[in-house]
Symmetry: C2
Subunit: 327 residues, 2 copies
């Protein structure tokens, strides 16, 4: 048996297909009694509007494309969920594309989906700006966690929380601090490094920078080798994954956290709660980030002009920060 259409319903009820169509797309234009009969037989026939047909007629697909670099990085799943749920609230579905962290083929991936979405949310921090702008030309696009001239943007600002963390460590006696930088091409990596660097300037603090490094557990762990014996008593890692690597590395060198060395991460992903001791970090309001992105995208799709938005991370002190060891 074929799928029901507006025509089969119209025929059944001896009315026009236009009216059936309106009963779904503009219900207020249809007399209530008629609408009820339409809805009832639609229900009975298991009718669902054909999205392709609707899309062809309206030019809208009801789909949002979401490009992320690596769903396997624990920062992204909550973001994906937030975006997906916000989209559902707006009656849209999410087309997920994971670029496998290789910024180079992202323009191609965008090309693959741009013709079938109403808009794009791009959360790929490392893709080259020029390529990004070229790739999204003609599609309503919102960029997440990255500033791109000329494209609407919603970013999370962690500078304040990072400074707060630094201040906290300072008050606990830390005077030599390591900064593990994230990937050179990642916008957020630059911002976070800058925040710590600026804080250290003009204070009696020695800041040792390492990196840029890949934002991976192993890179964090490996970095510890270079730090042991440096006299540093606290480490800022680019993100939580690296921070967990650092914790593992410290433990391999028989250094206790936080007794011998404090560690601060960034993002507050699931891992931050599951390491022992649990990680002091900057909590990103991921739900808000995703929600704003979707909302902003709806505006852009509707042709409104939007202005960039900023959400702010907050400091969450847990078990990896403590007094500097006496030397």
């Amino acid at each position: 048996m074929k799928r029901a259409t507006i025509y089969s319903i119209a025929q059944e009820l001896d009315i026009s297909a236009s009216t059936v169509s309106r009963a779904f797309s503009k219900p207020e234009l249809v007399k209530e009694s008629v609408r009820e009969r339409i809805l009832a037989t639609a229900q009975r026939l298991g009718y669902e509007p054909n999205r392709a047909a609707r899309g062809l007629a309206t030019g809208r697909t009801g789909l949002i494309g979401l490009l992320i670099p690596d769903i396997t990085n624990p920062f992204f799943p909550p973001l994906v969920r937030a975006i997906e749920q916000a989209a559902a609230g707006a009656g849209a579905e999410v087309l997920l594309v994971d670029s496998g962290a290789s910024g180079s083929n992202e323009p191609g991936l965008i090309g693959r989906i741009k013709a079938q979405v109403d808009g794009l949310i791009v959360a790929s921090p490392r893709m080259a700006t020029a390529g990004l702008k070229r790739a999204v030309a003609g599609v309503p696009t919102v960029v997440v966690n990255r500033a791109v001239q000329g494209l609407p943007t919603v970013v999370c600002d962690n500078s304040g929380a990072l400074r707060e963390a630094a201040e906290h460590l300072y008050s606990r006696g830390h005077r030599k601090v390591v900064l593990l930088r994230g990937p050179g091409a990642a916008w957020a990596a630059g911002r976070r490094a800058q925040a710590v660097r600026r804080w250290a300037e003009g204070r009696d603090v020695e800041l040792v920078e390492l990196g840029p490094l890949e934002a991976q557990f192993e890179d964090g762990r490996a970095a510890v080798g270079e730090l042991v014996g440096s006299g540093a008593t606290a480490i800022f890692a680019f993100d939580d994954l690296m921070a967990c690597g650092v914790i593992a590395g410290l433990s391999e060198h028989s250094l206790r956290v936080p007794a011998d060395c404090s560690v601060v991460g960034c993002d507050d992903v699931l891992l931050a709660r599951t390491v022992t001791p649990s990680l002091s970090t900057v909590t990103a309001p991921v739900e808000e980030l995703g929600g704003r992105a979707v909302e902003m995208l709806s505006r852009v799709v509707a042709g409104e002009t939007v202005k960039d938005e900023v959400v702010t991370g907050t400091l969450t002190l847990r078990g990896t920060t403590g007094d500097a060891p006496r030397s």
Copy 2:
């Protein structure tokens, strides 16, 4: 400027739209010289076939719907990626729907997307069988990691690896073992429990079962309280997340892993490598799981009959398993 269509290209080249259409959908039917000219001007005009129009004409959307219970559970991101990449290889895109672990609204979510996908991959272990079958009626569907009568299925069998793990612990002197069961409604939870239980039968092993429990870090941690002083020397957790909770809980009770207690997880998610000590667990071939699901779905969509498939997990011994403590 409006988007290019097959008509604008046809006009430009003074040929028929049919030919332009064929150049994209059945290139071998078009003379090479003509095809080249078409492709060239398509390129120049930035033409992309309108998916909605193609979908309306062919009845195919090129979309696969993927239903998962919780993208935030570390088991799923690698699965999602595997499915997405396999789909890309097959020229399909993935519509991701996360039910937020609430099995109850999953039929609704399926209803929301079933009209716009060519097929469905359902990886929701807890949804009621009857509701699931009703919800997917009429859409080609493949079920992952769960057996459902009458629906094609690809599951991961961890029984062998779990028995192997148990055997290993036995050889290291463990004679009292705890089994932390997963969610009662989850198919995999039943299977895993059964594997351990069957192994223990007829051996001089005392098996203590706890649960069903939610598959969460906190549940694992909380469970430790009930185990301390029980005399058990090894713990099988339903999955890695629970296992990590158990490790944290043991540490809070000043018990060393594996010196005082061994721990075995299941799945081998990212967390398993980032805990200290790293987790002994059963590695699920997630990529294969996802790849097979997509492949099977293509077959089902094509109307072929398929038979259920099974991939098998393998034991990965790391740092949380060792000799039973001498008592």
